[in-house]
Symmetry: C2
Subunit: 343 residues, 2 copies
């Protein structure tokens, strides 16, 4: 038996998630059973969708039970194996508890080759967030030559890849992000044609800025946030515009509900402009893995797509880092370094 530490859901949030909704505890791990491996976690990913799993509400993913560990995508090293798919020392990526060590089914794991770059890329640009960006711009709201693409949460783990994919396809790309530092980074490092600061004013001010940055309108909106940004973008959607609804972080805590256009106006606009509004979740598109890697891996290898990371140190830091992510305090991909990286 190995003793490890894990973070469980102590209680469901009432409105905003808080530190009290999490609890650190010690737990004994069994030996891996048939088809299982024991791992030590190295990198853990924090993502906005996890907020949804803290609620009891029916969602695309089952809710985390109260007193059960939170779950995350993680990169880990195999420490004991009862599966012929993995050997001790292998680096793997897959779904794991928020913990320092775990015993998990080998079935859900994929090998990570450290020769191909930083292993934590399997949690960002070459992992779930990167594939989310690709699926959004390829299957959900497919881009066409000449399109203007607008990306909210433009410097986030998903948004930054979406922006860079759109740019690599030769499109005009407008970002919306929170604060001048993120906007500068979006324009100077990520190659956005323009990035607009949603904190600089109200929805009308943001709408005016979009008008200036996209005078011919917006063809594809990669939606991560809802709220004021959605309100500002909608009037600029062109005929046959496509909206990939990937997230609505502004509304996740039950906040900012007044920052929304009335549904009747939106519905009539969907009709008149023949918009296509489509929600998606990357887990439904596992079959796209090959196509995604074929387009994006070479762009990462060449440096055409880069990813910025915010790293929290140690498992104990995960709840605070997650709450900061919900408040938009991260800058790029939010990771937790749970244990030493062998690279």
């Amino acid at each position: 038996m190995t003793r490890t530490r894990q973070i469980v859901l102590a209680s469901r949030p009432q409105g905003s998630a808080t530190r009290d909704n999490f609890r650190l505890e010690q737990v004994d791990l069994p030996q891996p059973g048939p088809g299982e491996v024991a791992v030590r976690l190295i990198w853990m990913s924090l993502d906005p969708y996890m907020r949804g799993r803290m609620d009891a509400a029916r969602s695309y993913a089952p809710a985390v039970e109260v007193d059960a560990p939170m779950q995350a995508g993680a990169v880990a090293q195999v420490t004991a194996s009862n599966s012929d798919r993995f050997a001790v020392g292998d680096i793997v990526v897959g779904n794991m508890p928020w913990s320092e060590a775990a015993v998990v089914p080998a079935d859900g794991l994929r090998r990570v080759d450290p020769a191909h770059g930083p292993i934590q890329h399997a949690l960002s640009v070459l992992g779930m967030p990167g594939m989310t960006a690709w699926v959004g711009l390829t299957r959900i709201a497919p881009t066409k030559p000449g399109d203007t693409v607008l990306v909210s949460a433009a410097t986030g783990a998903v948004g930054s890849v979406a922006g860079q994919i759109a740019r690599s396809r030769g499109l005009r790309v407008i970002g919306v992000a929170g604060g001048p530092e993120k906007c500068r980074y979006a324009e100077q490092e990520l190659g956005y044609d323009a990035c607009l600061d949603h904190r600089a004013g109200d929805a009308d001010a943001l709408s005016a800025a979009i008008q200036a940055a996209a005078p011919d309108g917006v063809d594809v909106y990669f939606e991560n946030v809802g709220g004021k940004t959605l309100q500002a973008v909608l009037p600029h959607m062109n005929d046959f515009g496509r909206i990939a609804v990937c997230g609505a972080i502004a509304w996740y805590d039950g906040k900012n509900l007044d920052q929304a256009p009335p549904l009747p106006a939106v519905w009539v606009q969907i009709l008149r402009r023949r918009l296509n509004v489509r929600g998606f979740i990357v887990f439904d598109h596992a079959d796209a893995q090959g196509e995604f890697v074929a387009e994006v891996a070479p762009l990462v290898a060449s440096g055409a797509i880069t990813i910025r990371e915010t790293v929290a140190d140690g498992l104990d830091a995960a709840p605070e880092a997650f709450l900061g992510l919900l408040r938009g305090e991260n800058f790029g991909k939010q990771l937790v370094r749970v244990g030493p990286d062998p690279q």
Copy 2:
């Protein structure tokens, strides 16, 4: 010169459209120029989309100018021809002014063969409304075997064909209509598995009725109305549900704006259930004409698809019939018999 009577847009509606927004006037018609024909109107179609053209707002179709004639799809007989495409006596269908006679370009007209059935079918089941139904269930919110399809304005010109197309594809079809008479007709004549009366109660009552009629949820919603019906349908949409937004008649006059779920809730539902919400207008799908006729014409010929008509007599009756249409007082396809039908 021929003298004729026509109905013009006298003023733009402030809120609800009223009789005062229309004016009957006499006008002199010129001789048809090169490529033009003179026609006498027989059947004129009244459709909810015309309400949008009465506003100055940017829409998919140009607004009707104040003092210019209202426009409609119409079936007419050629009385003089300056085009080698049509001869005197031919029956044609196309866009025409609300008038007893007109001079129009031959280019926009299509011949109607009286041997194929009632000529006014070119304005309903085999015309724009029928094709709207087909495009919605084929290109916009494509049906799949096993789907449950819900159609609002279920007995209207578009909805009645949508319901019958869905039924002919072997799907479970639920209608929503206004009043017991329409619902009885939908179930007994149009073959809906169930039709729910939205006038029987509030949105919660309608939602409960949908739950009972579609216990496994709704896969495709053919949306004609918005308002309370949309509010009641949304919670029942299944994962990967599709909504074809064809109309939103409840909101056209700027009324019932309180009968709408809040946008944040809808947006999060689009995300969690991976809904695809898509607005459309049949005029963008002229290339579908052949496919549409291939599926629907045999169903009309065999009697598997029928259409009920409400006929207003004489051009003078058009404004009142149109206002009644907006209030849901028509039953099936609203037509105006402008002149004698040679059939």
